[in-house]
């Protein structure tokens, strides 16, 4: 109600701003010529004053007076409109009606279009201090945040807030909260694991260095009650996989499963991941022997944890796709079908055997850009980065074709092979 009262008052003042000048007595409006003459006369008297006070020299004053007089004479007296007195009353009435009806109707209508007259102000301080609104979780969070901003060493507060952040999807904030918890209340397996998890989520699923540190310290600190920190070890395995060490990752997961109690609730999850990794590995194997296609790289990394930024050869592979035929010495269709049916271990062995074949063939016949490209890529997909880098270096010195060398350098750069990150110009 108070708001509407104020609105009424404001409107009334606005209307008065139009009505008051209308109600004052009329007076003559000077014509332009009269106004001009008045200006020049004022100038003349100003000039006279200046001359008297010695602010202006006699010669200058004389020149200025002549100039003003010239302008005074030249005043344009032709275009004068006679004042219209007859329409006086009706003009006043029309304007008054415009003010009395037009202003309020226009203003209220336009205001109602977008205004929210039913909504009070909601300054943050008042909201934080008022009765907690249990339905609005973000408000509760803000309240705790406000408390923690003033008492940043309240570890319990951070510990309460951190999981709430996680549930709200604010993982970076959750990570910061867990960091505070560890800083204030000390490190333990559960806290480090939670911190690591938050960091992984915040990074879109990538186990960053920072997250890995947290998991490692969680695994290190793991005591009796922590069952050997399975969650942290699981993430460490994921980290290994993300770095291309799929074999290491699967081994870590198998170790984890072996040590796990038979009734552990997380067993199925680990088994699932293990199965996915093994499948990815076999996909890698088949991918190795597909003609080079853009998806070649990402195939090995199609796990949901891998962000696109971590698949450097997604783009880099494309320009190399030129030749469609499988490289000489590669497996035939039969071999590939056979590979698909093999057990993972056997398949790995078969793949590595074929890669070794290729490597030794290139040692005998080194001037083969296509072959080197295949070999570098194969090593990379198998996670043997150092071998890939060595192969690329050998290739760069032994391939005679300039374009081929460029492609190899480009591939090495795309794969971020150690020491070859930059494409030499």
């Amino acid at each position: 109600m108070l708001l509407w009262l104020a609105i009424a008052l404001f409107t009334a003042v606005a209307i008065l701003a139009v009505l008051l000048p209308l109600s004052a007595g009329a007076k003559d409006v000077a014509s332009g010529a009269e106004e001009d003459a008045a200006v020049y006369r004022r100038q003349l008297s100003e000039l006279e004053r200046d001359r008297k006070w010695g602010r202006i020299g006699e010669t200058e004053a004389e020149a200025a007076r002549a100039e003003i007089a010239r302008r005074l004479l030249a005043i344009d007296r032709e275009k004068t409109v006679e004042p219209d007195r007859k329409g006086d009353l009706w003009r006043r009435r029309a304007t008054a009606v415009l003010a009395l009806a037009g202003i309020p109707v226009f203003a209220v209508l336009l205001y109602m279009l977008q205004g929210s007259p039913g909504m009070p102000d909601q300054p943050l301080m008042a909201r934080l201090g008022g009765q907690p609104d249990t339905k609005n979780i973000s408000m509760l969070v803000a309240r705790v945040e406000d408390h923690l901003a003033r008492n940043p060493n309240d570890g319990k507060g951070w510990e309460v807030l951190a999981p709430v952040y996680m549930r709200l999807g604010r993982e970076a904030d959750a990570a910061r909260a867990y960091e505070s918890v560890i800083r204030i209340m000390g490190s333990n397996t559960a806290r480090q694991t939670a911190l690591g998890e938050a960091l992984v989520m915040a990074a879109g699923g990538v186990v960053t260095d920072r997250a890995r540190e947290a998991f490692q310290s969680a695994a290190r600190d793991a005591g009796e009650g922590d069952e050997g920190a399975p969650k942290a070890r699981f993430y460490l395995a994921l980290a290994a996989e993300q770095e291309g060490d799929t074999a290491g990752a699967t081994k870590q997961l198998r170790d984890l499963l072996e040590g796990a109690p038979a009734d552990a609730s997380w067993r199925p999850a680990i088994q699932e991941t293990l199965a996915r990794m093994e499948k990815a590995e076999s996909d890698t194997a088949s991918a190795l022997f597909q003609p080079a296609e853009p998806q070649l790289g990402p195939v090995a990394r199609n796990s949901p944890e891998t962000p696109p930024a971590n698949a450097p050869f997604a783009g880099g592979g494309a320009p190399l796709a030129g030749g469609g035929a499988p490289f000489a010495g590669g497996p035939s269709q039969d071999q590939m079908n056979a590979a698909a049916e093999m057990a993972p271990e056997d398949r790995m062995a078969m793949i590595e055997g074929m890669v070794e074949n290729l490597a030794s063939r290139l040692q005998d016949k080194p001037d083969d850009a296509e072959g080197w490209l295949k070999l570098v890529r194969s090593y990379a997909v198998l996670g043997r980065k150092q071998d890939a880098a060595d192969a690329a270096r050998t290739a760069l010195t032994s391939v005679s074709d300039k374009e081929g060398r460029r492609q190899i350098a480009q591939l090495a750069a795309d794969l971020r092979l150690p020491g070859l990150e930059e494409v030499p110009q």
């Binding site: 409006v29 200058e60 977008q114 102000d121």
Partner: protein, 668 residues
């Protein structure tokens, strides 16, 4: 209904009411002026003052919403954060599209109210028409705000925390740059309204020029300062050490400045001599049109840069509509009415008027150059989608050559008499300035080892402007003619307008020197440093010590501590930082600047590397501060000129004293 009261809602209503009043102000006084009805004419003053009050109230309500972090107001939620320092809560009001448009109309109505209050001695019909035209502009922009950019839209339920302001804008620069720039932009609306009113009236009153010049000067003054501040802000905030990028947004403010400078000079001719009337009116229209164009370019989002926080196409189309309406309308009015205006006095080509016209032609040509460079890429992109960027090389080839002849001519202008001047005599009396300029060129050549003649020439040009300004004062006090006896009293007896001219022109010279010295002689060193390593920047050695973290109110930052030594002696320490603003997930670079006399050492931090090293960019910028100090001097000249409130009549020297070799100037 309960007894609550909402300031935000009343602010919203207040804004609507301001529009209603503005519409009355846009029509009734025009009617009154046409019929010479004093009552209707008086409505203009009252509505303009009331309208100003309502806009101030609305703006105040918005500021309060920001200060108390009322996130139920969408605009506050989008651009503020409860942890933001109080200064940025307030400046954040205009650090976004809606709020900056509010500031725009606030300043527009402020200028209207000032005319209403101080326009007592204006012819009544002229005043009514000026205020009506002002109200057209105001109505258009108020309508724009209310229909497309309403800052008072509410959110229910209210979010708990705001999204914070763009970190680049969280700077003291935001507190001063936009208000000053808008005071400049919008100030030109007064000149525009006077021009439109004169065209509607069909005559240019005697009081016209006397009124237009101080308003134009005020607007020019603020625009000068606003542009300079924006330039300095970009210089220290963006971390690249550049002070002018020929960015379309910068050009958008530079074009009205160039046209406004031309207007300022032609208004002088009109005030003193009654000449160049029609040209001045056209310039007034063009200057404000360029201000509107600047508003359009920045607000419509057709440009992509940090300034383009508006990307809603309906807004762009709306502003384009306003642009077409006002520029097209006023030019049509000009085409229709200008031929019926009486021409002013005549003058010889070599005269003060001639010199000012020369100034106008070059400034307008320069404006056209910037206009082409700014709009051509946009037009090209609109036609065939090709994105090109027009930068410094284009302007160096087009704008710079236009500036040389005009800068060379500046000292001549004040030396010439009104109506008919003596070029040779002026040149002789400028001997002192010429010698000073030549000495400056020679000294620069020697100091810099004679590499390239262009930069020493530029420095000489700057000195020529400063010495020329001083030369004029000395000449007018009689010293150059050997009349030492009365020189001192004459010097102090000179009208303030003469000092104003000299100060402003000298300020221009100071800026020119700063620009040339920095552009030609700055050094840049970029190196990757590990703690303990150092690099050389000019005569200084910078040693990177370490990096320490620090927590600000709404950001965290890493402070890179660097010790500066010269000849083995520690001079100072600098601490450039990298900040991270969590709310917007944005990082900014805060450069560190140390000033040595007029020169600056500028250090900013680039990438961090895994091995603990960091890329350090160090610039040594000789005389760089002169760029901004010069604009400050120019603005001081403007203030001095404003303080000279005497009437100004530029009389030609009486024929009998014409051969005495010096112009007699009354009032000046």
């Amino acid at each position: 209904m309960n007894g609550f009261f909402s300031l935000a809602e009343l602010g919203h209503y207040s804004l609507v009411l301001a529009l209603a009043l503005s519409l009355v102000q846009a029509t009734v006084p025009l009617w009154g002026a046409a019929k010479r009805d004093s009552r209707l004419i008086r409505v203009a003053t009252a509505t303009s003052l009331a309208g100003f009050f309502y806009i101030v109230f609305a703006f105040g309500a918005l500021v309060v919403a920001y200060v108390v972090s009322d996130f139920s107001v969408a605009n506050v939620w989008e651009n503020s954060h409860s942890a933001k320092p109080m200064l940025y809560k307030v400046t954040g009001v205009w650090g976004n599209h809606e709020g900056s448009m509010m500031l725009w109309v606030l300043i527009l109505s402020l200028f209207g109210a000032l005319v209403a209050i101080f326009g007592g001695n204006l012819p009544e019909t002229l005043k009514a028409r000026v205020l009506a035209v002002q109200a057209w502009i105001g109505s258009a922009f108020l309508l724009f705000i209310l229909l497309t950019s309403n800052p008072f839209i509410r959110l229910d339920p209210a979010p708990a925390e705001g999204q914070d302001l763009n970190p680049i804008l969280q700077d003291i620069g935001l507190a001063v740059h936009p208000p000053f720039l808008y005071l400049g932009y919008v100030g030109f609306s007064i000149a525009f309204s006077f021009a439109a009113a004169a065209l509607i009236e069909g005559r240019v009153d005697a009081a016209w020029a006397r009124w237009v010049r101080p308003w134009t000067l005020t607007a020019w003054l603020f625009l000068t300062l606003g542009i300079a501040m924006g330039s300095y802000w970009a210089y220290y905030e963006l971390g690249w050490g550049g002070w002018w990028f020929w960015d379309p947004v910068e050009n958008a403010s530079f074009m009205p400045w160039l046209a406004g400078t031309a207007l300022l000079h032609s208004a002088v001719v009109m005030e003193k001599r009654g000449a160049l009337k029609i040209w001045t009116i056209l310039l007034a229209i063009l200057t404000f049109s360029l201000s509107l164009l600047g508003t359009f370019l920045v607000r419509s989002g057709v440009l992509t840069s940090v300034h383009a926080f508006a990307t809603d196409p309906t807004r762009g189309v709306f502003i384009l509509g306003i642009l077409v309406l006002f520029i097209g309308g006023s030019l049509a009015l000009f085409a229709w009415r200008a031929p019926s205006l009486r021409q002013g006095g005549l003058f010889a080509p070599v005269s003060r008027e001639g010199a000012l016209l020369y100034n106008n032609l070059f400034l307008v040509a320069a404006t056209a150059t910037v206009f082409a460079g700014t709009l051509y890429p946009l037009a090209l992109e609109a036609v065939n989608g090709e994105k090109i960027s027009v930068g410094a090389p284009f302007y160096n080839l087009t704008f710079a050559p236009l500036m040389v002849p005009i800068l060379m001519a500046v000292p001549f202008g004040p030396m010439l008499a009104w109506k008919r001047g003596d070029l040779l005599g002026a040149a002789q009396r400028l001997a002192f300035a010429m010698v000073a300029a030549i000495v400056a060129v020679a000294v620069t050549l020697v100091l810099t080892g004679a590499e390239g003649a262009l930069a020493p020439f530029g420095i000489g040009l700057g000195v020529w402007l400063i010495a020329g300004a001083l030369n004029e004062l000395l000449d007018r006090s009689g010293i150059t003619r050997g009349n030492f006896k009365h020189a001192l009293p004459r010097f102090f007896g000179l009208p303030r307008a003469a000092f104003a001219t000299a100060i402003a022109h000298a300020g221009l010279g100071v800026t020119v020197i700063g620009i040339i010295a920095t552009t030609a002689y700055q050094t840049e060193t970029i190196r990757s440093l590990k703690p303990g390593e150092s690099l050389e920047a000019a005569a200084y050695t910078l040693t990177y010590q370490d990096v320490v973290p620090r927590t600000g109110p709404n950001y965290r930052e890493e402070v890179f501590r660097i010790v500066v030594t010269r000849d083995g002696k520690a001079v100072t320490a600098v601490a450039p930082t990298k900040r991270f603003y969590a709310a917007r997930q944005m990082a900014t670079t805060e450069s560190a600047i140390k000033t040595f006399w007029f020169s600056q050492l500028y250090v900013s931090i680039g990438d961090l590397h895994d091995d603990g090293s960091v890329t350090v960019r160090a610039y040594y910028k000789p005389l760089v501060t002169l760029i901004w100090l010069g604009t400050l001097v120019m603005a001081i000249g403007g203030v001095v000129s404003l303080s000279d409130r005497r009437f100004r009549i530029g009389a030609a020297k009486p024929a009998r004293s014409a051969r005495k070799g010096r112009a007699a100037e009354a009032g000046a």
